[in-house]
Symmetry: C2
Subunit: 482 residues, 2 copies
Amino acid sequence: METEQKKFLLTAKKSENITEWYTQVIVNSEFVDYSAVSGMMVYRPDSYFAWDTIKEATDRMFKEVGVQDVYFPLFIPERFLTKESEHVKGFSPEVAWITHAGQSELSERLAVRPTSETIMYDSFSRWVRSWRDLPIKFNIWASVVRWEFKHPTPLLRSREFLWNEGHSAYASFEEAEAERKVILDIYEKILKDYLALPGVRGRKTDSEKFAGAIASYSIEHLMPDGWVLQGPDHHSDGQNFAKAFDIKFLDKDGTKKYVFQNTYAISTRELGAMVLTHGDDKGLVLPPKLARIQIVLVPIYNELKKEEVLRYSRSVNESLNKSFRTYLDDRDEYSPGWKYNEWEMKGVPVRLEIGQREVDSVSVTAVRRDTGKKETVKLDQLGQFITSLLEDIHTNLYTKALKFLESHTYSVSSYDDLKKLVGSGIVQSPWCGSDKCEAKVKEETGAKITNLPSDVQDKAVGQKCIYCGEEAKFIANFAKSY
Amino acid sequence: METEQKKFLLTAKKSENITEWYTQVIVNSEFVDYSAVSGMMVYRPDSYFAWDTIKEATDRMFKEVGVQDVYFPLFIPERFLTKESEHVKGFSPEVAWITHAGQSELSERLAVRPTSETIMYDSFSRWVRSWRDLPIKFNIWASVVRWEFKHPTPLLRSREFLWNEGHSAYASFEEAEAERKVILDIYEKILKDYLALPGVRGRKTDSEKFAGAIASYSIEHLMPDGWVLQGPDHHSDGQNFAKAFDIKFLDKDGTKKYVFQNTYAISTRELGAMVLTHGDDKGLVLPPKLARIQIVLVPIYNELKKEEVLRYSRSVNESLNKSFRTYLDDRDEYSPGWKYNEWEMKGVPVRLEIGQREVDSVSVTAVRRDTGKKETVKLDQLGQFITSLLEDIHTNLYTKALKFLESHTYSVSSYDDLKKLVGSGIVQSPWCGSDKCEAKVKEETGAKITNLPSDVQDKAVGQKCIYCGEEAKFIANFAKSY
């Protein structure tokens, strides 16, 4: 028993060593596990459930705006990857290469999908003939491999991760541009309604944009350690790939034109953002919609009252599991206290304690995971109570995260202030737009521009660049970044 | 226009050259496409929709019986694959190998997932401690790669395909065995209720079982050319992998024991079985539940009446698309006849023709894809009519396929009869159970034992083996096989 108890203890504290805390909490909670392949991880039932729920919800919203799911090969011929010069530069350092099949050496190396632009657009070039074939709004749910040589961290920086890849082709630049708001609105809704995560939407700088795109837009998350983690993104590819892959259509006016394209993605990295944001020193804290088990029932008894308490617990469980995902923990060999620790570690949103007192008063004692608050609830009000409790937990998680984001977003106009605040949050500063100033700030402070936040760009007018003092063109979010 | 019309024509007839017909129909209907990677294919929206529907329905049923979804790495270290000797023999001839990442050569080759037993069971060995950790009932929805050197055919024999992989671990052999019926019942229900496909359930012979299993059970489909195609399967692994990967648990009696394991799968190959079974010389015929578009509305008008017919068509479409997946084909540049051909090729279950006559009589003309039967339906009865029409189409497809299976399943007791019938269906024959007789029949007739059908095994009693004349132990299904 001793060894099993140990695994539900965290030795690291989130506020003291978030890196060590993160590693302990994701593994000890049985959320994910390391695998025998260095840098690749295992999604155990709780993490896969959370991802699958995000996937289903996102997919439903994609379909509402006319996106269709497809699937493209896992392997990509080397000659395709090299067709768009920026693209290959971005990806080839971390591509996993197939060289042999069975006993035979292949005549051309094949890349394991790091992203699918090139293999998809090869098909697009054969499928697109006339304006009638446009727009194409395709999506694939896939696993991708990027053999990162930096220190891999499960969920945050893994050599394989799961994501959606949206790929579209439009007849005009304007139509292509209009897609961005639609998709980023969907992502923002998923983040807020499912992951309880706020974010900052904005354009990436040219030095930070996607390899092959003309512009990238992202939603960035602020983590509790004051560092920023990149969330979902949407890339405007312009006609770069259309030209490289010869995707042309006959327009209504009788002329041949190249299409305009976009790509977009949300990945399992969001689960890492969720753990970092909501977790505490007892373990995971899961937003109720993403919890495979939403309510755990723990019966408390001595041998004398065992049957009565268990019978009552079972009937409570049966009435709840029609509407909620519940689990009755009737394991005999563990004490209630041990069970509390385990389910708190696993982040289950609500615990119901059921002892003789509860049986006698026809009630249960409900404990919420996010605040630890206890409440006794009469059985005839339990369903309604749980419904609003789960909503309340979700809202509380989101509100806390949003407050943290807002209170750790600083607006400064001097480089000294930026330097003081870097590492403790997002530092919004006027910027002239030059790569050189961006690079210098990064070199001197370790902070990069995470994005140019959409909602405050009007404030750049009349301000001076934080680094060179020239006229500012943008308000840039400087931060240390995961 | 001429070139676009051509692509919706089939030059091959199903009854004359089913191989050529199949290739034409799956590509010309835009169901799937070839990709630039030899032997790997693209799932276009219609095929992916069908697969996703199968996946969702199967997953729902899995969850009802306690199966949990997880995800394991795409890559598998070479040393794992070689741990179970039968397993590695079965897979290594067709494994795609990663040897390099970026510019670096890996110290150990990694296999791209051909199946996940070994990487999963490595984790099981760390996760399983006591009887409390059992049973494990895990499933992954994944893409797998098997670099077949036989002629690849999209959906039927593709170098990458999509499937579920169920992997379980039980404390006892009996519990492990009990799982088979539960899972094969689910698969049979999916085949019948979604794909409208019947099948024959039974055990595989030892020479045909899964690499590493102690016994395999399959559902086999009979195709219209009289050949058999293997469908979903369930494998009893016994303790083979448990011993190779050291998966032991402390049982209630205080002793350490190896677990008993199973694996099971359904794959995108079912879509190939569906195309082969239901398709005709006009193209695909999709079972209504798997059709991305269930009903296409084709307005028919001259310039004079155009607006009136279109307005009416739109209102019919709006009333239907709340309950069904509909598409109003209002493309001006194609004739109604051209549209009929296209939607028939794509296998859309119901076509509604709407012209002035229909407007005047407040009705539509409904044409069903499976029989071509036309019927005029009053608008106020349309919803109910369509509901039962879709059900009727599904039932008709299933009934036709079942009749074909039944009428092409022959029971024989002489080898001469077997030889005469081989290639035209399933030949049920008494068999002594020896590998030698099985191999001899295969050598001489080209027919293998597809499985030992569960429902007729009692008939073996008192019969003689079709080949050697010794006492029969089984009734075996001999057939030519895909």
